[in-house]
Amino acid sequence: MGDSVNCREASRLLSVAYERRLTAQELQSLQGHLDKCFMCRNFDSQLRFLHQASQRFRTKD
């Protein structure tokens, strides 16, 4: 794997990070991409929100 990844791969890493620990190389590639890509930064925030909303969904009245 090169120094950075494209959006398709970055989005996959952002998602799988909720399931397992990313390797050091994966983290580096992902961060390198996020530094340059606002779209994937948006996606990152959205994933965090989905996670929060899902947990709230379980217990909301």
Binding site: Q46, L50, S54, Q55
Partner: protein, 208 residues
């Protein structure tokens, strides 16, 4: 702690019980919960119906210490276990789901172009936490969950809503962990796109 009535009581008439509407409002969530465990729509609906009846009968025992949804779910769990036993012995067909096979990546090509860029850029959602307090947001959320394929919906629900471990979910579904991750990724992408279209996106926001 609710003590369920051991004998059959006549069903409470919906229109006379003031709590009926409130309890009924949780039906979609409970159905989703039951579907995730039972994977059979008929059985899931039966479980939920029994749960709601039991809840109406036992509402006097609900002290309000947990949320109503949590309390209803605890009743539903009993019903689900009962029906799970029945599902194993009576099932005459196997529900066949698309989306379990992780080899097919075609759906990713719809979202990303040949260079791996987003075909449609995810927008910046302004103050998304505020949406959590709006009833109509949750209607949109449930609508978007409904649009997921059955396997994705189940796996996402168990993982993200119920917080179950991936290993346990994979075992239940009979799939490998990496299949599981692909299914979750697809569900998240689908949900995200749907919520952006129906709630957070500029057009949706203007239309509200």
């Amino acid at each position: 702690m609710l003590r369920l009535q051991p004998k059959k009581m006549p069903p409470v008439a919906p229109t006379t019980d003031p709590r009926f509407a409130e309890i009924e409002g949780h039906r979609p969530y409970l159905l989703r919960y039951a579907l995730a465990q039972l994977r059979d729509r008929g059985l899931a609906e039966e479980a939920v119906q029994e749960c709601l009846l039991a809840a109406l009968e036992g509402i006097g025992g609900f002290g309000g210490k947990s949320s109503l949804r949590t309390w209803l779910t605890s009743i539903l769990r009993f019903k689900v276990v009962d029906l799970q036993r029945r599902a194993v012995s009576e099932r005459s067909h196997v529900e066949f789901d698309e989306g379990i096979a992780a080899d097919d990546d075609g759906w990713l090509d719809e979202l990303f172009d040949a260079s791996g860029h987003w075909r449609q850029a995810p927008q910046a959602w302004s103050n998304p936490e505020a949406a959590l307090e709006q009833r109509r947001f949750w209607e949109a959320f449930e609508h978007c969950l409904d649009k997921l394929p059955p396997a994705g919906s189940r796996v996402f629900f168990k993982r993200e809503v119920l917080g179950e471990e991936t290993e346990a979910i994979c075992k239940d579904e009979g799939i490998t962990p990496s299949n599981c991750w692909v299914i979750l990724h697809r569900a998240r992408l689908g949900l995200r796109a749907c919520l952006e279209k129906n709630w957070f996106g500029k057009e949706a926001a203007l239309g509200r």
